[in-house]
């Protein structure tokens, strides 16, 4: 884990240092003269050699002191801390619903494999997948928020509970709709792979009913790739969450990053990249531990 973190830090540093624009110029804004820019450069320590700057960067990472946003002058760590809850309020229900719905759907489709139902589902999901997520949100917002008025189109409050009932449902619902298609297909593939294994034949030879074969033998074994997928897919749940935040004006991490990107607010972007990398690695560790519970063949180091 540590070497990876070092790598991420290096990646972020070099990306922004060598390819990004001069921060001093960005901060100074348009219409600043050379003297002003030089002054800011000195303040930011940009006139020092790059390895010194790298060292400063590393120190910032380790001490979690990222300075302040160039745009709002808010402390970056504060930004992160205050925006995280909103992202989680969307992400957690989203992940749970996704898995809980896709499992029975995938299982059901695998059970009726080859039949007309299976084929109809596959075609529907293929078409559903070809429509951009954006379209679903645009239409969803318009239909449920604007036309029918069931949910507010945008908004957020300070109260988590209220958020869950009032503001979270529409975005979560739309995201679940979109992800159901690919998840179901994926889980179907996992189940079909397991059905092809020899131990299923043994179970049938013992007289186990087809239903039990699916629900007991196959499901248990399929949990292994499902867990893998969950673990590797967790970081990409962020993708959906980010876009939802932008659409629904939810003050979460994703929206913050997008704002930072548009404003070239480097400290925020750098900090978030490193923070989220750490979060991802922690999630991976948890997934590895989860493996041990599901697959007795795994030996933890």
């Amino acid at each position: 884990m540590v070497p990876t973190l070092i790598g991420v830090v290096l990646l972020v540093f070099f990306l922004f240092h060598f390819f990004g624009g001069d921060p001093a110029v960005i901060i100074a804004g348009q219409g600043a003269n050379a003297k002003q820019v030089a002054l800011i450069q000195q303040q930011l320590g940009l006139d020092k050699p790059w390895w010194v700057q790298l060292w400063i960067f590393v120190k910032e990472v380790v001490t979690l002191n990222w300075g302040r946003s160039w745009a709002t002058n808010e402390e970056v760590s504060h930004i992160f801390a205050t925006r995280l809850p909103a992202t989680l309020t969307i992400m957690v229900p989203l992940t749970l619903l996704q898995v809980l719905l896709a499992l029975p759907l995938g299982l059901g489709v695998a059970y009726v494999r080859g039949s007309l139902t299976d084929r109809a589902v596959m075609i529907t999901t293929t078409v559903a997948l070809s429509i951009s997520f954006l379209v679903y949100v645009i239409i969803g917002q318009w239909l449920f928020g604007f036309e029918l008025g069931w949910f507010p189109v945008q908004g957020w409050s300070q109260n988590t509970g209220y958020n869950l009932i009032r503001y979270a449902p529409l975005p979560v619902f739309l995201a679940v709709c979109v992800s159901l298609a690919p998840q179901t297909r994926l889980y179907r593939t996992f189940f079909l792979d397991e059905i092809g294994h020899d131990y299923v034949r043994t179970a049938r030879a013992k007289g186990v009913s087809e239903k039990s074969v699916m629900l007991k033998h196959v499901l248990r074994n399929a949990m292994i790739p499902i867990l893998t997928d969950l673990g590797t897919g967790l970081p990409s749940i962020f993708i959906g969450a980010f876009l939802l935040e932008v659409f629904f004006s939810i003050p979460g991490l994703g929206r913050e990053v997008l704002l930072a990107v548009n404003r070239s607010d480097y400290p925020v972007i750098q900090a978030f990249t490193v923070y989220l990398a750490v979060l991802t690695m922690v999630v991976n560790l948890l997934t590895d531990i989860g493996y041990k519970l599901v697959d007795p063949r795994v030996v933890l180091k």
Binding site: T202, A203, A205, G207, N221, I224, P296
Partner: protein, 566 residues
């Protein structure tokens, strides 16, 4: 009533995409006796497994079955799914060939045995678990009380098969179907499992339907035998009658073409001989082992150690090959025999520098004196590679599926500058193909169009294009059907006579090694435990491991006369 199960005019065909359905079984009939063992014998593609699986309707959905399988007065093929589920595991059970993949990896052994008990006998969990422990004891699994809560991957192959057997006999079935249960096991373990099955069959008064390709095993354990080829029955009857007086040429061929321990004909009879009615001389002189000759390859203290990383800082190691030394003589065959994990394959691969050796020297005789192959640079080694070649075990994996035969055969020639231009090379390869018994038209085909035996011939041809002196045969015939095996062994012997090749013949099959070798080395746990010429080692083994190996060989074919004419 002496018949338990009666199969009449069984036909099974498989739908393969839009093409014609493939007929695996073309109308066969036989009876399984009560309280006896019937062996279903055939090579790959004979339809024996398909026949057995159709009894319990365990075939894939693409299969179309017709005919009748009469059990207790009704046709099983007409039975409902519920009836089939009742019968499975209770009246009729199955054990399969690969125990590792046939057991569910995420459930304990005890759970899996208890499952079948609770399905059919409605015992409580605790009682079922107890019963599982008793069963494990009955099948001879050591420490049953501890083992019952272990997972399949924690057991060895033989132990896993015992667990499968325990699951199968748990509800006291009337018929046990055993689908090649010992094919994947070492020969010493095979003997134990076969003895166990015979014992259980006796004590439970069951019938057994035993599927195998090995006639020697049939001779040991079966009362009745049914011989199948290409979906049809060629011959059936009591084992003694069929073995001693086989009527069908195919049966005669199967019985004779397997190398035996007691006789060693100049050439193995093959199926074609019998089908075409050739006369074989039963009194032809036997081959005798020759131990003289000039030494072409000298191996001294060869060692191979595998390092296993146990985390960041700790290392454990495993010595696959320990201090192996031997000499290979020109034009002679040195056999290397051992069970899985003995290190025999590693010896071959290390000689060829396909594994990096940890110790020792491999001295190859050259004009400028003996050279140690292990110490040469890559460049020097490449030049010498043409002198030692290797034929691998798996004919389906040793040829590049995306190359034509012509490409496969001309590549080594190009590397070693044999043949001036492409046309010359193609002519040489065409000649080589004919030499190994294939038509030159094969040049333009892809490997998947050939059978296993044909692919091995192509692999041998590939080696021969470089005119090597030494050929390492790493289980080269082990994956082939018995009749094909005989053909390839004959080919190897002919090539040895014509080109003066020296062979290092590695195999787990003692009968084959004994047949083809002049001298035999026995390997166990990475070391050579005995070396002797191939007559002495079978007549008068010294080492206890060698003796155990010899005792484990099925003797079912001993003492049979080779029919002289079909």
């Amino acid at each position: 009533m002496t018949t338990l199960l009666s199969i009449a005019d069984l036909r099974v065909s498989f739908k393969v995409g839009k093409e014609q359905p493939f007929e695996a079984v073309k109308g066969i009939s036989f009876d399984v006796p009560v309280n006896g063992t019937l062996a279903l014998v055939g090579e790959s593609g004979s339809g024996k497994s398909v026949t057995a699986m159709s009894i319990l309707r365990l075939l894939p959905v693409t299969a179309a079955i017709s005919g009748s399988i009469l059990y207790q007065g009704s046709n099983l093929l007409d039975a409902s799914s519920e009836r089939m589920r009742e019968l499975r595991g209770r009246d009729i059970s199955v054990i399969f060939q690969e125990p590792m993949s046939s057991l569910n990896p995420v459930f304990t052994v005890g759970d899996q045995i208890a499952e079948v008990i609770r399905l059919h006998e409605h015992l409580s969990r605790r009682k079922a678990w107890q019963r599982a422990i008793e069963l494990l004891e009955e099948v001879g699994l050591p420490e049953p009380k501890q083992r019952v809560s272990s997972y399949p991957h924690q057991l060895s192959g033989g132990q896993q098969q015992r667990v499968m057997i325990a699951m199968a006999i748990a509800c006291k079935p009337k018929l046990l179907i055993a689908d090649e249960p010992t094919t994947a096991l070492d020969v010493t373990i095979q003997k134990q499992i076969l003895d166990l099955l015979a014992r259980l069959r006796e004590s439970h008064q069951m019938s057994m339907l035993f599927i195998t390709h090995d006639l020697a095993v049939v001779g040991d354990i079966a009362d009745q035998v049914v011989v199948m080829e290409k979906g049809e029955i060629r011959e059936q009857g009591p084992v003694q009658a069929v073995f001693h007086a086989a009527k069908h040429p195919y049966t005669q061929a199967l019985l004779s073409c397997r190398p035996r321990l007691d006789v060693r004909p100049r050439r193995l009879p093959v199926v074609a001989d019998y089908m075409q009615g050739r006369i074989l001389d039963a009194n032809a002189p036997q081959r005798t082992p020759r131990v003289d000759g000039e030494i072409v390859l000298e191996v001294r203290h060869l060692g191979k150690r595998f390092e296993l990383k146990d985390g960041l800082f700790s290392h454990s190691y495993f010595d696959a090959v320990k201090d192996v030394s031997f000499n290979l003589k020109r034009g002679r065959t040195l056999g290397l025999v051992g069970e899985s994990g003995s290190g025999k394959t590693t010896v071959g691969l290390t000689l060829m520098r396909l594994h990096k050796a940890s110790a020792g020297e491999v001295l190859l005789k050259t004009e400028s004196g003996p050279k140690d192959l292990l110490k040469l640079s890559e460049h020097d080694m490449t030049a010498l590679r043409r002198r030692i070649q290797i034929v691998f075990q798996n004919p389906y994996a040793s040829l590049n599926p995306r190359f034509t035969v012509a490409q496969i055969l001309t590549e080594p020639m190009r590397i070693h500058n044999i043949g001036g231009n492409e046309r010359e090379r193609l002519e040489l390869t065409a000649a080589m193909l004919e030499r190994v018994g294939l038509s030159p038209g094969a040049l333009w085909k892809y490997p998947h169009e050939f059978s296993g035996g044909q692919r091995q011939r192509i692999a041998i041809a590939r080696c021969l294009t470089m005119r090597p002196e030494i050929l390492i045969c790493d289980e080269s015939v082990s994956a082939l059907d018995v009749s094909v095996q005989a053909q390839v062994l004959n080919l190897l012997l002919d090539l040895q006579d014509e080109f003066g090749l020296s062979y290092l013949f590695i195999s787990h099959d003692l009968a084959v090694v004994r047949y083809i070798s002049d001298e035999v080395m026995v390997m166990n746990g990475g070391s050579i435990v005995e070396v002797a010429d191939s007559d002495t080692i079978y007549r008068d083994p010294q080492n206890p491991y060698t003796k155990r190996l010899l005792e484990s060989i099925p003797k079912g074919l001993q003492g049979l006369a080779i029919p002289a004419v079909a």
